[in-house]
């Protein structure tokens, strides 16, 4: 019964997929058509082949994983090698389309008054020098042919200027063609005006400008139509090879900033792990004491910071670290200290990020180390006691080595997390304070991921998706190295089980 329903469902799914593919092919969206067809055919093969039982179970998870993890990664690599950015958003074909439909109004342009008479459909009447012309404003068309007519005008009053003005978005996209082939366009609420194409398409790489009589040639290196040193907007996106990467290293101003960001990213991740791990371990050891009362209450209370979504905690800290009004400076002033510029100077902003991240992250380490401590057999400590070992040497020779042997992959994981801890940086400082003299949006506390975000989406100085993606590839590289280290630590792919 269920299997019949399932089969029926699958059949209709496959048919729907095929219809969709056909539709997409028909509407010239070839890429989507191919994608849809591949997915549909693969589904069909997998669900109806007897051999592919394992695949049938794998398929749904695999599909989303490929579409929304693998494909985006490949796509990111591609974008990293293009100049996709503000002014270069469109493909060359699209830019040609836009440029070749750009209209100019000639100097000796003819303009004609017009009225719109309401009705279904409404009627547009143009009052030419040699007589009146009319056309019906039916929806769905972009070109209206004006026909001469000698009858009486419609009886209703025409639309007033305000009513016409409110329809201007509709009217601006339309062309009105006179019987002699002249093209008129909406100009004012009472005027249509003659217009013609500005550029004449000579071939797909050359445009002839009818106004300045310049010839614009496509330059596929810069992604512009060029004439001498002048460029036409909009530009288009092109593959630029390693240009984004070389600009990270060789462009002097960008260069130093990129290394600054890279160094701080590594330093921030390392110090965050060091601090959270040290404090978490310290706390776990203090609380993991058989004689200590209220142990479980302490454990719960110390985990609370970790249970709150990070973005909330970080925003709270941002308010509390406000120099003039923030709660922390209030307390400091009451205790007789002076105000601290928590988020204002480069050094203090970095320290603040680390402090807040310590608050966010130590409970995780505390939780895990507590788990490890509880798994250490009591007999080990008893044996050490019998051998006369002091408390410090027990810690040094038993507790610490046991923690370290279990905690390696965890520290690497934590490092990788902080590498991309966007919230911990961006919501606290916004990446700021800004690096003086920087040409791109970049600040003293920016890490690679927040730099990527700001280049691509903050927009103050234009969006540069190509450069942002090339920085994302650096993150990719660092995470790859970390993954390799983790494999070594967990012993996958080698026999080396030693953790450091």
């Amino acid at each position: 019964m269920t299997s019949k329903v399932l089969k029926l469902f699958l059949f209709s799914y496959l048919i729907a997929g095929l219809v969709l593919s056909l539709y997409l092919f028909n509407s010239t969206h070839v890429f989507m058509g191919v994608l849809s067809l591949v997915i549909t055919v693969a589904s069909g093969v997998i669900f109806f082949s007897k051999k592919a039982q394992a695949m049938r179970f794998m398929y749904p998870g695999l599909l989303t994983f490929v579409l929304f993890m693998i494909l985006p990664i490949i796509f990111t690599v591609y974008i990293a090698f293009t100049n996709l950015s503000t002014g270069h958003f469109l493909s060359k074909e699209r830019v040609l389309e836009i440029l070749s439909s750009e209209k100019v109004i000639p100097k000796d342009a003819v303009s004609i008054e017009f009225d719109i008479f309401p009705g279904n459909p409404a009627v547009l009447v143009a009052y030419g020098l040699d007589g009146d012309y009319k056309t019906y404003l039916e929806e769905g068309s972009n070109i209206y042919n004006l026909q001469p007519f000698r009858d009486k005008l419609p009886e209703q009053a025409p639309l007033g200027p305000n009513e016409v003005f409110s329809k201007r978005e509709f009217l601006e996209t339309k062309r009105f063609v006179m019987p002699d082939g002249e093209i008129l366009r909406y100009h004012r609420t009472d005027l249509l005006i003659q217009s013609k194409n500005r550029y004449i398409l000579i071939d797909e790489n050359t445009l002839k400008d009818t106004v300045t009589s310049l010839t614009w040639g496509a330059d596929d290196e810069s992604g512009y139509f060029k004439s001498g040193n002048e460029t036409l907007a909009p530009g288009y996106y092109v593959l630029t090879g390693f240009k984004n990467f070389t600009s990270l290293f060789s462009d002097n101003r960008l260069n130093s900033n990129f290394f600054k960001v890279l160094l701080w990213t590594l330093g921030w991740s390392f110090l965050s792990v060091l601090f959270t791990f040290s404090f978490g371990t310290f706390l776990a050891i203090v609380i993991n004491d058989k004689g200590l009362k209220l142990k479980s209450i302490y454990r719960v209370l110390f985990i609370i910071p970790y249970s709150i979504p990070f973005f909330i905690s970080v925003l709270i800290f941002k308010g509390m670290m406000n120099k003039d009004f923030g709660a922390i400076n209030q307390v400091l002033v009451e205790l007789g200290f002076s105000k601290v510029p928590w988020l204002e100077t480069p050094i203090m902003a970095k320290v603040s990020c680390l402090v807040v991240n310590l608050w966010l992250g130590f409970p995780y380490m505390f939780l895990v180390i507590t788990g490890i401590l509880q798994s250490i057999p009591e007999s080990l400590y008893e044996a050490a006691k019998l051998d006369g070992a002091g408390r410090f040497s027990t810690f040094k020779n038993i507790t610490l080595p046991l923690i370290m042997s279990a905690v390696g992959p965890l520290l690497v994981g934590s490092f990788a997390f902080n590498l991309n801890n966007f919230v911990g940086i961006y919501l606290l400082t916004g990446g700021g304070p800004p690096i003086p003299g920087a040409t791109t949006a970049v600040g003293e506390t920016d890490i690679l991921i927040s730099y990527t975000y700001r280049l691509a989406f903050e927009g103050g100085q234009g969006q540069n998706f190509g450069l942002a993606s090339s920085i994302a590839l650096f993150i990719f590289a660092i995470v790859s190295v970390l993954t390799l280290i983790n494999f070594k630590l967990t012993g996958m792919g080698s026999d080396n089980q030693e953790a450091t």
Binding site: F68, I79, D289, G291, P309, L315, I316
Partner: protein, 310 residues
Amino acid sequence: MSEIALKKQQSKSTGFQFKKKQMESLAKHLLLCSLLMIVLFPIVYIISISFNASGSIGSKLIPESFTLNHWKYILGIPYLDSATGKEVLSPFPILLWLWNSIKISSISAVMMLLLSTTSAYALSRFRFRGRQSSLLVLMIIQMFPNIMAMVAFYFMLDFLGGYFPSLGTDSHGGLILVYLGGTPFNIWLIKGYFDTIPKSIEESAIMDGCTKFQAFWKIVLPLSTPILAVVGLLTFINTFSDFILPSILLKSGDKLTFAVGIQIFISDAFSGRWGPFAAACFLGAFPISAIFFTIHKYIISGLAMGGTKG
């Protein structure tokens, strides 16, 4: 030395030891309590601010007078402002943002479970070509956070939105699709749990005429409720807490998630909206905190090791 004297001495020394231990535990309690005061200060402070009548960023830590106005503001209940005498109604749809977040996170969690359990089952039970390499690929890929590909996501959804507006940018559907790419980690977790369920149970069911899918659906899944709950809730928490993807992909004010909405709300006017912001923080944090504490034992036991925030 007489026996009594010896006993006295003994009791003296144990008394001293006892005292030393007591002193030590007292010192520990003092240390832990002062640490707790620092650690919990922001939380206590924000709760106090949410009821503080002055409620600006510079208000005193201990409220001088108590108010519910900040709560009314974020819950969208009109109230009379005592200073101006005018009725105030928040123009910000904070509850809607919270609802958006809950909706997106729940749908993501459920769909994630649907997608990852079957894959996990295949990897746990079937022996097929490419199984080992699939496991390896999953292991590697789950290290890479999807936000690295944020630029690509933006353009993919932009493209997709041209065909299906409800899956494009500025749509919840598109955002959920992006989250569904994160199956590897969950597949990994669930597969680990399936491995602990003895195969013999399903084998006898298949002998009795069950299909493989029925065995999976009717036997293995019900036995795995704990891990499914944990994975679902973890996905919920992680999706709820995500900031970067919704901030890139969502634009209109009524579609924002809680994270993005509240950030815009407070960044515009840090000092003026501190009171309502405090209330909103509590409102958003409390449910997540509650979920966290119901599953945190699983997190310690190493199930989620390395994969959650930390």
